[in-house]
Structures are given as structure tokens and as C-alpha cells.
């Protein structure tokens, strides 16, 4: 992945369209590189001036005395295409195309130019960022190959955070917020149309930087899921958490993104499942994108998520407990020993269970936090602390509180602060601690930090998702017997059944199946909602009844113009519950499993979970536990428990089969999959085949 390092530390940069005006798009990079300490060679290209901003120019890129590592292109339209051609032919390693007017315009001209540009680069293997890119900014090398206004508004400082965004604005906004909070930013990239090099690919390269501690990502589409998988791998290997904001979650947001950069045509839950799989944390707003940054930059080693709350206000204790429940952080149950030790330190009326209310005694005993925090830290159930100081100021030894808090946090236990007064917060901020205006924000950030660490560790044991589009298309062409057979091939237990050709043959099938009651269905590849068409008869209790049912089905089929290829006879299975097991191919992320409540109400009252294939037994059990129907599976009100393990195993087998690129199945729907006391069985199935047209 380090093969994109030339974008971050180029030894030389040519600027095509270099401007003498340091406020112009072609002028800003020159100024920025000068001001922010770029030490490599800069070759300004401008056919009309001998020098720009005091630097001698060359008239054409091909006149450059050296072959630059990177060509930064600020000329419009066809001239940009031409510059890419020249750069590629010269052997330039990479181009950053800031010019717009390409694919993002959705015009024929723009798309054509974009294709042409790409073709030139592909010829020699030159990599291209953009077009329509705000550019790449690397502040450790001073290689600011972009034009963001923000770098003059909020002066840069090299630091441990990388921001990689498909949108220029969404590179600049988090950059500005972090800089105002005093956090150094090494990379601030706005990649644009991601024609060749994608934001994810650049992020994966940045993750290899040994000084980087945190990566923030903004995406509106995913053209190469493989790079995101690689980013996840690099993130985990290097211990660099990645927080991602994907715009276009909502219908209208997705529409807006489509007109902007091209939206992601993936069900949101598939994306969620993907990020979980690769260890990337997903957020839903800019605020959330940057909220926990200070926590990620600490050297903590949390060993769990038990939270202890300490405050000099009872109300903050109450609100912090509420916020912890909202955020899914359990309040630690303190040991008797801890409570005894706390009692010895605190006034009689103080609360010494968790949350710990040190009361107004803090005003006269400035060492309280310094004694209480270590006692909590030594409790094995405490893995993180919130310290809330809603009111302090004159009369309080705030400097000492901050020293004590920093000393505690240095021991490796995460500590967040809720301190609304800026002057009280300052010594804590100066000590490098994460300070929030109030407890709910602090606890939300802490919860994200802990859960993200957990997610990254867990992703190590999860299979690589089978991303990527399969060739061919999903085709419905199987009748139910064929579908059941295909489903069985995937490892899903299916009901015993017989396919017979005439209504009269149903009687013998009944006898052979040896069931008390059977289901008779018209077999066809033409219809899906068979019940509504009268093609299904349940609970036939005798061969005679079954034959009569087949006759009725034949009549129904004929009246609806449905061609039958026979009659399917199967034992009537009564499950403890009806479940659903399905699969489909996501165009970006590959095979996706759906599991949940089954029956006729799956569309009206859906209760399903989504997992990428292949999935593990543990993942499936966790997904099943998230279903609303989950409490029923253990058996309630005298009913036996369902064989959830058999269900989970069927999901895993099918997911592994689907993950094989050679799998002939492009999707299926088993509904109901009957849950039994012992095992599961699909009694109805629709299987879609993956069909690739043979070249003629």
C-alpha cells in the first residue's frame, strides 16, 4: 500500500496551470508549499508567464527539466486531459487533477473527457487523484497539492490525524474543527471523483504512516470495496482507528449525493455490516466524526467497559447514569472493599456507590478527586471513568484537580471529563485530557472509543467479506422442487417432498411420504406469491383430500393462466416459529445474508438482520439475539425452545457457499424456515441462479 507514498512525500511537483495570484486555484498550492515548508522541487507550468510568485516557469509540462513525482493539474477541461497524457508519457508517478467539469456534471462531454483522461493514465500506469479534487495536503512534508481555503483560515500543524474525504468541504470542515481544538492534522485530502485512486486507497496508504494515530473518512460512494477491506486490515494491523461518515443514508440524501458525486446503491444495513466486519466505526454526522478524536489520541489500555462516575453534583451523577444507559455503557458495580475505602475518604452523606457523589466537600478538600479516582481505578470492575465538575471556579483548586486527573489517566484507565466552564476546563485540556461541555457528550464519545476498540479486536477473528460484484445476473428460473434442491446444496435443510406430474399421482406421493397431513402446491417457475393464486393447499389429511386439492390447484392455475410443471407434495410441518433465511448479491459488497422472522407478514412487519457472507456462527448468534422475536426463541409460556443453533449453522453453511465466487446461486429466499425443537427445515424456497452469458 505504501506505493502511494509519492503523493504524500513527492520529491518534486509540477503545477500545470500555475498562477501568479496566490488566491487562485493554480496559485494556492505554490503559496502553500512555500509557506508550509515543502522542501522538494516545484516546477510551475505556465505558457504565458516567465515566472509566477517569484518562481521561474516552464511553458509546457514536457519542458520540465525533471520528471516530477506528481503533476498537479489546474487547467480546465480538455487541457487537463492533455496534461494527463503528457504526464503519463513522461513517466510521472501520479497526477492530482483539481479541474472540474468531468463526470460530476453528468454531461456526455464530461464523462467522455473523464474516460479519455483515465485511458491516458492507464497506458503507463500513472495513478490519478480526481478529477474534481480539492487536492491532497500532507503537512509533514509540506506537499500541499490542493487549494483548500481553510489552510489560510486555520493554520496547519502536523499531527497524528489524517482526514481523507471524497468532498473538499468535508476534508476542510473536520480539519478546521480539529485545528481549533489544538489537534495536529497530517493529511487533509479531498479526492473528488475517485476515477482511479480512491479515498479508501489513499487512506490505506496513510494508515501505514508510523506517526498516524487516527483516520477520519468521508465517503459518498464506494467504487472499490477491496480498498476499504485493505484499509480495515491496515487500520487493525497498525492500530490506527478509522472513523467513517458516509453521506446519503436517507432517500433524499442519496438523491442529493447522486446528483453530486454518485450515490451508494447499497442497503444501509449492508454497509453497517461491512464496516463492522472490517473494524471501521461509522458515524452519522460531522459532529460525531470528530467527537471522540481526543480519546483516540490517548495511550490508554482499557480492558472492559465498566464505567465509574465521579462528580461534585448529585444531578450530574444522575444524568451521567442516564447517559451511560443511552450509550450502552454499564455502570460498574463497586466491590465492598472499594465502597469501604470510599467511605473512609468521603463525608457521611456522600454517595459511595457508583455514581460517586463527592458533594460540596470538594470545596474544602481539594485532594478528594486525587484519592477517589485511584480507589475506583483499582476496582476490577471499573474500566473507565467520567469526572463531572459542573460548577467550580474561585475557591476551588482546579489546577490540582487537573493534576490528579491527569495522573490517574496516565495509569492507562480511560478518563473523560464533563466540565462546562471554559476556565475550569482549561487546566484539564492543557494536561491533554478529553474535556466535554457536559456528561452526555463525554459518555457518548467514551462509549464510541471503547466499542470501536472492541470492534477492531473482534474484526481480527472475522472472515474477509466476499466483496465485489459477481459476473452475470440473478435469474429466476427454478420451480420449487429445483429451488429446494438448490437450497439443500447450500446446506439448508429442506422438507422431504415429491414432485409428480398429474393430480392423480398425488395419492401415491402421499402414501410414500408417510405423513399424517401434506401440503400440495402447484409447481411452476412463473409465480412467486402462490397462495394468493390458489396454488397452495395446506393440511390435506388423506390421499383423497390431497388429490382433490391438486385438482383445485390445476383449475386455479388454468384460470390464472399459470403454466404448471407438476405438483409438489410435502409433509405438513408445524414449526415452533416461522423464520426467514435469505440471501442476495449486493452490487458492491457481494453476497449478503438476511435472517429473521418469517411467515406472511415479513414485508408488513419486518424483523430481520443482515450479515455479509461468509459469516461466523458467533456473528449469526449475535444477529439472532438482536431480532425482536429473540425472546420467543428461548421458549415462553410453556413452549419449548427452538433449535437456534441449527438455524445459525444453516446460515453459516449457506453464507460460505455463497461466498464462493463459483457458486451458481445469486440469491434465495427460504420462507418459512420452520424452527423446530430439533433442527430447522425450509418448507418453501425461491432460488435465483447466477447466469453469465456465454460469448457467442
Amino acid at each position: 500500500m505504501n506505493d502511494l507514498d509519492f503523493f504524500h512525500r513527492p520529491t518534486s511537483v509540477a503545477v500545470v496551470g500555475a498562477s501568479d495570484d496566490p488566491e487562485k486555484i493554480g496559485g494556492r498550492p505554490l503559496r502553500y508549499m512555500r509557506e508550509f515548508g515543502y522542501a522538494g522541487t516545484v516546477v510551475p507550468v505556465n505558457p504565458k508567464r516567465e515566472s509566477v510568485q517569484g518562481m521561474a516557469t516552464v511553458a509546457r509540462l514536457e519542458d520540465s527539466p525533471i520528471v516530477p513525482d506528481v503533476a498537479l493539474i489546474a487547467v480546465p477541461g480538455q487541457a487537463a486531459v492533455e496534461a494527463v497524457r503528457v504526464a503519463a508519457e513522461m513517466g510521472v508517478k501520479g497526477a492530482v487533477v483539481m479541474s472540474s467539469g468531468f463526470g460530476e456534471t453528468h454531461t456526455a462531454d464530461g464523462l467522455r473527457m473523464q474516460e479519455e483522461l483515465l485511458a491516458h493514465a492507464r497506458k503507463t500506469g500513472m495513478r490519478v487523484v480526481g478529477p474534481n479534487s480539492q487536492g491532497l495536503a500532507s503537512f509533514h512534508s509540506g506537499a500541499v497539492l490542493g487549494f483548500s481555503t481553510l489552510f489560510t483560515e486555520e493554520p496547519p500543524a502536523d499531527g497524528p490525524v489524517g482526514i481523507i474525504s471524497q468532498s473538499g468541504a468535508l476534508a476542510s470542515v473536520p480539519y478546521g474543527i480539529l485545528r481549533r481544538r489544538g489537534i495536529g492534522v497530517r493529511y487533509a485530502h479531498g479526492t473528488g471523483n475517485d476515477l482511479d485512486v480512491s479515498a479508501a486507497e489513499l487512506a490505506a496508504a496513510a494508515a501505514e504512516d508510523p506517526d498516524l494515530r487516527l483516520l477520519l473518512l468521508y465517503l459518498e460512494n464506494v467504487r472499490d470495496p477491496e480498498s476499504l477491506v485493505a484499509l480495515g486490515e491496515a487500520s487493525r494491523r497498525r492500530g490506527v482507528p478509522v472513523v467513517a461518515l458516509v453521506g446519503g443514508r436517507s432517500q433524499s440524501g442519496s438523491r442529493a449525493a447522486a446528483s453530486h458525486t454518485g450515490a451508494l446503491a447499497t442497503e444501509r444495513r449492508v454497509l453497517d455490516s461491512f464496516f463492522e466486519r472490517v473494524g471501521i466505526w461509522q458515524v452519522h454526522s460531522v459532529k460525531e466524526l470528530v467527537a471522540a478524536s481526543e480519546l483516540y489520541l490517548q495511550d490508554w489500555q482499557p480492558s472492559g467497559d465498566g464505567l465509574a462516575v465521579v462528580s461534585n453534583s448529585g444531578a450530574v451523577c444522575v444524568l451521567a447514569a442516564d447517559a451511560a444507559e443511552d450509550a450502552g455503557l454499564p455502570l460498574a458495580t463497586l466491590s465492598d472493599d472499594t465502597v469501604t475505602r470510599l467511605k473512609a475518604e468521603l463525608p457521611a452523606f456522600a454517595a459511595t456507590t457508583n455514581p460517586v457523589d463527592v458533594t460540596a466537600a470538594l470545596l474544602t478538600d481539594s485532594g478528594l478527586f486525587g484519592r477517589v479516582l485511584p480507589i475506583l481505578g483499582q476496582d476490577p470492575s471499573v474500566h473507565a471513568c467520567l469526572l463531572g465538575i459542573p460548577v467550580a471556579g474561585r475557591g476551588y483548586d482546579v489546577e490540582r484537580f487537573a493534576r490528579d486527573a491527569a495522573g490517574f489517566a496516565a495509569s492507562g484507565t480511560p478518563l473523560v471529563l464533563a466540565v462546562p466552564q471554559p476556565n475550569v476546563a482549561k487546566p484539564f485540556v492543557d494536561a491533554g485530557l478529553p474535556v466535554f461541555e457536559e456528561e452526555a457528550s463525554a459518555i457518548a464519545a467514551l462509549s464510541q472509543y471503547l466499542a470501536h476498540r472492541h470492534r477492531m479486536a473482534r474484526a481480527e477473528s472475522l472472515p474477509r467479506p466476499a466483496v465485489g460484484a459477481r459476473p452475470g445476473q440473478a435469474v429466476a428460473g427454478l420451480n420449487e422442487a429445483e429451488s429446494l434442491a438448490a437450497l439443500a446444496d447450500l446446506g439448508v435443510p429442506v422438507v422431504a417432498h415429491e414432485l409428480v406430474s398429474a393430480p392423480g399421482d398425488v395419492a401415491a406421493a402421499f402414501e410414500r411420504l408417510g405423513a399424517h397431513e401434506v401440503v400440495v402446491k402447484g409447481s411452476t417457475t412463473e409465480a412467486t406469491h402462490k397462495s394468493e393464486l390458489g396454488l397452495v393447499r395446506l393440511r390435506c389429511g388423506s390421499p383423497h383430500e390431497a388429490v382433490a386439492a391438486a385438482d383445485e390447484i390445476a383449475a386455479s392455475a388454468s384460470s390464472h393462466g399459470v403454466q404448471l410443471d407438476g405438483f409438489l407434495v410435502a409433509p405438513m410441518v408445524r414449526g415452533l416459529h416461522e423464520s426467514l433465511l435469505g440471501a442476495s448479491l449486493d452490487p458492491v459488497f457481494g453476497p449478503v445474508m438476511v435472517l429473521g422472522a418469517g411467515g406472511v407478514h415479513v414485508e408488513a412487519v419486518p424483523d430481520t438482520q443482515v450479515l455479509l457472507a461468509p459469516c461466523t456462527l458467533e456473528e449469526v448468534h449475535e444477529a439472532l439475539a438482536r431480532l425482536r422475536m429473540a425472546p420467543l426463541l428461548a421458549g415462553v409460556r410453556g413452549n419449548p425452545a427452538s433449535d437456534v443453533d441449527a438455524w445459525a449453522k444453516a446460515v453459516v453453511r449457506a453464507s460460505e457457499a455463497l461466498a464462493d465466487p463459483a457458486c451458481p446461486v445469486a440469491g434465495f429466499d427460504a420462507n418459512p424456515l420452520m424452527l423446530l425443537e430439533d433442527g430447522v427445515v425450509a418448507v418453501d424456497a425461491v432460488v435465483l441462479q447466477s447466469v453469465v452469458e456465454e460469448p457467442a
Copy 2:
């Protein structure tokens, strides 16, 4: 309600325990009243000094040359009780007891002193705030009858916001946040134990202040729901929105509150329903408590919730659309005329549907926002706007943007801004506009503001909740026939039924009911889960079968030691769906209705809504629409629609009956209430009676 005005504008104040040290609890009020312009008479009471802070003292309260309006009490324990006694006897109108060590300690002594204190006050009708109160601060009169540290940290300025909190810290924190945002605060009250005057009662008094525009409330318990109802009424009548944060939502938060001030023993959904009913907006954190303050202080007249988004960044358009969906704000669909007018103003590649992306053209055309916003404002589907400027600075005419935005907002259409850069935000803030760091926060605040206005308007048409505890207790003493009769009396349709005494009589009951199939149940007051005890037999298709069922039931009852008082025979009713209708008495908020999905899984997979009694048909229909099962009620996959209107009417009738204080029913549970194509019918009922012990 204005009868508490003497706390806000006392003509004279005695300070019992007045201290010479302006940093002590008994010294701060003297200093604050002097510094913050209190013009009334102050009488410091101190037996040990002739003067404090340059003011002559009296030795004892009874030595005061005047009868003060308010006695502010800062002496501890029994001395505070004694001061209250003297004040009450002197004819003081109200006491503010800052002293702690009372009920909040949960000690016998503390509780006794508190009762004693209250008894003294009650004797003469003197009102008491506290004890354990941080005090009341009124900045229009300078009557700062309290000791909050924050008033020295963040200098006060009189203004349109009142903060009334049971916790001192939670009065100070929002005060500080608002003051730092430049918002004036008139009241900052920390009421403490609410022994007599409650936070809600003070808030209702504050709502009568003609200059007040917004009330923020923090509560941990509700001792007098009547005052909250009165607050809601005053809030709506005066147009002063009330935003409330109630601490102790979570289990651990509620435990923490119990040890702190006394938690609220009310199911959270009941509280939600109450606040909705009275028009108060509920939030879940301090951050949310203050988030929309700037919006409430505008003079807007929104007529709907259609949102238009304008930005110079496509990504902000995308993220704003996502945030709008999260917040439940619909994006307005612009008229063709609006789109045509926008096209005339914007570059060809700009997005002229909503969201409107004005693109980087803003840099060269500073009048864009000034032309685009009015076009949007004239579209009848646009009721509010977000303007997002993620990046600006040098080269942008930000002052003009702010003028144009302020001009638009002055026309009455709500406008919020998402502007991360402080220097770019400043002219907007200076123009009095609500500015947020990013779009999700701005849209969340806008959504709250609009929904709160809607809630306040709607509360006008809702019945007053029947708050208050009923005397007596809920007792289970009815058998099923009696329960069905009691339920029918409440207006809920019940199944036809016969109660017979011997198994042999069941046959005749079968015939009289004239049903194809009946249910036979053992009638008893002793058991609730009858099916598990074998006391219910469904689908008896003949008199013979029914008698046999009764025999089996009798045997089951006998083997479980359950006393039967007969056999209930009822037609077998098959509903389209099983629903649930229940009611209970909340100790604070009175009768509460529960409605939702019925059947045997109501505990394992609950799907219910809660409404305060009495409720309206409209409320019930809205609650039913929120059920997960709602999509089924319209009829799916060929099933007919259920008679939802009959269900709703049954809820309303029962709620009105329960709201009558003379109602003999203390609660009931009808499950299942069968939903039919035409009507509903309860086939199973447990009714609890309200029993008041007669005096002997």
C-alpha cells in the same frame, strides 16, 4: 399564579445567617444583591456582628425593623427551623431555606426537622422554597436570594430565559452555557427539596412574566403534578415554551436520584405522555436542554415543517438531507416555478431541486444567497431553511451573506445556519441568527423548535390529564364474569358469556349461546395465568365436548388447589388480530391506558403504547399508528382490515370512565381484545377494583 411574585420582586429581604465574608453561603447573597442592583431593603441578621459587608445587622430576625417579604435562611439545622417559625409568625410571605441536612440526608433527624419546618410555615401560610436550595436568582430585580458560584464566573445579564431546577448545579450549568452564548437569563433558581413550593410552581409563576420567552426546567421528581399541568397551561396561554430535562430515566440514574433527591416512580412512557399532553418538550441531556434556545427567542411564525436546504457544498446538502430524515423533518418538494426561478439565478451545473447547491459560484457572486433564499421562502411548501456554509473566509463577502440571511429570517421563516468557522459565523451571530457548528445540530434544533410549537398548539385541544393519586388501593377480587361485566361498564365490548355452576350445566349454556364452538373456562378469583393451570379449553364443538372440557377443568383446578366458583362458557371468537387494552393508576399522573398487540407474547415481545386518561380519538389513532403491528391492521396479503375505529372508541370510552375520580375500577387488562372486521370484543379480562378502607 402570580402570587409567588414576591420571590421574584421582593420589596425587602432578611438574610438570616448573614456573613461578612462575601464568599460564604450567607455572604454571597448580600454581595450579589449589592452588585446586581437590588433596590429593595436588605436586613442582614447576625447575632455576632454589628455589621456585615458594610451593612448594619440585627441580632435576631424578630428584631427586624420591617416585616420582610422574604426571609433567606443560611443557618444550619434546628436554627433554620427556628428561623422559619419566627418568619412565619412575623408574617413573612416566603422563606428560602438554603441550609442542607434535611430530607435529602434520608436520616430520621433530617426528616423530622423538615416536617417541623413545614408545620411552622403551614400555620401562617408562609411559603417555603427548599430546604437544601441553592436559592432563587432574579436578575430583573437583582433579588439574588442564593449563592451560586456561577454568578461571579459568568456575569449575569437580564434576559428572556428562565431556568428553574431542583438541582443547584443544573440551574448553574445552563445559566453558564447560555450566558457564554450571549443570551440573557432572568431567573436561575435551584429549588432543592421542594418541600412546599415546587420547581414547577415557581416555573408557572415565572411563565406569567410578560418579558419571559423561554423556560428551562430540570426535575428529578414530581411531587405536585397539578403544578406541572398549571405550568403547561400558563406556557401555552402566554406562548412561553417550556423545555424539561428529567434526570433518572435509567435504572441506575433513578437509583442515583433516589439517593440524591428522591426519584420519580413513574414509568418513563407515562411521563412522556404527560409532557406531550401539556405541551412541554422533554429532552435527555443538558446539551439538548439548551440546544434550541436561540430559536425559541426568534419572532418566527412557521406554518409547517417543510425544510429547504441551501449550501455552497454538495456534501453539506447530502448530510443535511440525511440529518433532516433523522430529525423527522420532510424536505420540501419545490414547485416547478421555484425551480425555474432558481435555474435563472444559478450556474447550469448547480442543483436546483431541494437541497439547493449554489456551488463555488458563491465566490464570484456574493448575492446568490440573497436571491435564492427569498425564492425558496415564496414556495408554499417551504416552511423553514437551513443555510450551510462549510467553507468561506478571505474572498467571500460574509458580511453580505449575513445581511441577506438576517433579512430573510426577519420575514418570519425560520432559518438556521451551519457554519463551522467562528470568524465566518460571527456576523450571523451578531445579526441575531441561530448558528451551529454543523448541519445535524442545526437541523435537530430546528426540528425540536417546530415540533414543540406543534405540540403546544395541539395540547390546547387535548383534555386535562386526570393527574393525582386515587385514594385506596387496587385489589384483585373479581372472577372473570364479574371482570367482563365491569369491563362492559367501562364501555369495552365483551364476549357474550354464561356463568354456570356445575359441569353438567355447560351443555345448556352451549345451546343458549347458539355458537358453533365455545370456550370453557374455570371461573375463579384466585388465578391469572389460567391456561397454564389447565383451566381453559378452547374450540369445544359440541355440548358433549364442552361438558367433558368442564369436567377436565374441574379436575385440573382440584389438582392445583384452585377454588372454582363456576364455569364460564363463551362463543369461540376468531379475531383478525389479537390486541391488548389495559389500564392502571400511576401514583403521580393518574389513570394510564395501555394499548397494543395482544396474545400470549405480550410480555416476551411487547408492542404497546401508553396514553394518559382521558384521551381523545385522535390521540388513540396516532398511538395505534405507532404500533409495530400497525401495518397489519389495514389488512395485508388478502386479509381484511381490522375495525381500528372500534378499538380506538373502546379506548376513549374506558379512558373517560377511568378519569372519573368516582370510578370503582383501579385497573384492567383485556387480552386478547379481538379485532374483527366489524367491531372489537374482549374475550378475556382481569379487572382490579379500587378499594378504600372505611373508617372504623
